[in-house]
């Protein structure tokens, strides 16, 4: 079997097992909706309607990160728990396994971003000044987040403390992505960029691209060491 075939097979297997129960998808969507409502209520608890300008953009990223932390951590834990890790090791090479898992995680996170961004921006009165910049920043951000969480979930799967450890390991590593992502999103929402120019967020897009490339390359190079023991 070729590498591409292995990777797509792992991806297809991920999608199929997820589609049987839809646990990851529904739990992350529900988590996002619950968190969104909770934050919305908390922000208006003193009866004042106005919310700071930067709030929608920042909230979007906080929500994205926390939902990823709840939804993407299971990828390798599930394999260890079910005892299927060994079978997977035998049928596909490490980089193909990582790529398939990453693709599945990325698909989940992108679906989630598409589902949560419009209601969030509507609910908190975020006005999009440059849609293509918003798309670029969110897609690249989601891919970067998915890459980091796929790698850290492989590390966490070996540990006895699984729940909280994933966020602890991933959040500090995601700082450069978060700062560039929030900056680019705010530019796309027209904050400090009233004409909605793409160039206002171009630097952030470049940072996000390089972050994603580094995260994926590093993961592909290092995954073999934790996977094949």
């Amino acid at each position: 079997m070729g590498w591409v075939h292995e990777a797509t097979a792992v991806f297809a297997k991920e999608v199929r097992t997820e589609w049987r129960t839809r646990v990851a998808l529904s739990s992350t969507v529900l988590f996002a909706v619950g968190a969104l409502t909770l934050i919305g209520m908390a922000l208006r608890v003193n009866g004042v309607g106005a919310v700071g300008q930067a709030v929608p953009g920042v909230l979007l990223w906080v929500l994205l990160l926390f939902t990823a932390a709840t939804g993407l951590g299971r990828a390798f834990v599930v394999e260890e728990e079910r005892g299927t890790a060994l079978a997977l090791r035998l049928t596909a090479r490490a980089t193909a396994v990582w790529t398939g898992k990453f693709a599945a995680n990325a698909a989940l996170l992108l679906a989630l971003t598409v589902l949560t961004t419009p209601p969030l921006l509507t609910l908190f009165n975020g006005k999009v000044a440059n849609l293509s910049l918003l798309f670029c920043v969110l897609i690249l951000g989601a891919l970067g987040i998915a890459a980091v969480f796929t790698m850290t979930s492989a590390l966490v799967a070996q540990s006895s403390a699984k729940g909280g450890l994933l966020a602890v390991l991933s959040f500090p590593i995601l700082v450069p992505l978060l700062t560039a992502g929030v900056h680019g999103t705010l530019a796309a929402l027209g904050i400090g960029n009233p004409q909605g120019l793409f160039s206002a967020g171009q630097g952030d897009v470049q940072i996000l691209v390089s972050y994603m490339v580094i995260a994926i390359t590093a993961s592909l190079m290092l995954f073999d060491f934790v996977w094949n023991d």
């Binding site: 070996q158 500090p172 450069p176 060491f225």
Partner: protein, 217 residues
Amino acid sequence: MTKVAKYILGLGMAGILAYIFLVLPPAQGFVAPELARIVALHLPNAMIVMVASFMAAAYGFRYLTRGRNPLDDAKSKVAAVLAMLFCLLTTVTGAFFAKVQWGAYWNWDPKQTCIFFLLLIYAAYFLLRSGIEDPEKRAAVAAVYILFAGVMTPMLGYFVPKQMPSLHPKNAGFDASYNTAIWTTTALLLGLFAWMQSLGVRSERIKLALDARDEER
């Protein structure tokens, strides 16, 4: 380390401290120029963090690629402990400086926040280690994470804060004597770091030998 080197290190340390507090001129352009001298201690600590973190990553890489020697893992761990220690010292000296010059120990300055995240990375590293029983698995997983940490150190220490507006002085009123003080302190701290590293590795070596003896019984 030889006895002579230790004496040189001790005398040098005492000398540079005396120089910083007695000879170094106050830095102009600060709220309290007299107290800005802590920069000559703060900056070298940050540089040692960089060195220690690269060393930890290098030994992690060696562990993964050169035959999984448990001693490489131990060396990587000791360097990570020291990186965390110097990271803590950088944070604390920075907080003192911030209190005097900017009015509060914590200002959410990008550099302050980023060095704190670095501290969190090392805390996460030790948490990750403590959660894995099997020594070989632990070493492999820890080595992978420490490589990520090694990439993150220059990012958080340099590139990310550069993107954001910061309170940190750019080319404030430090004269040439600050350069001398900062680089001399860095060299001395590097010596201190090497000493601490060798002490740590020696104790890890003993632990490994004891474990091996227990297994033989």
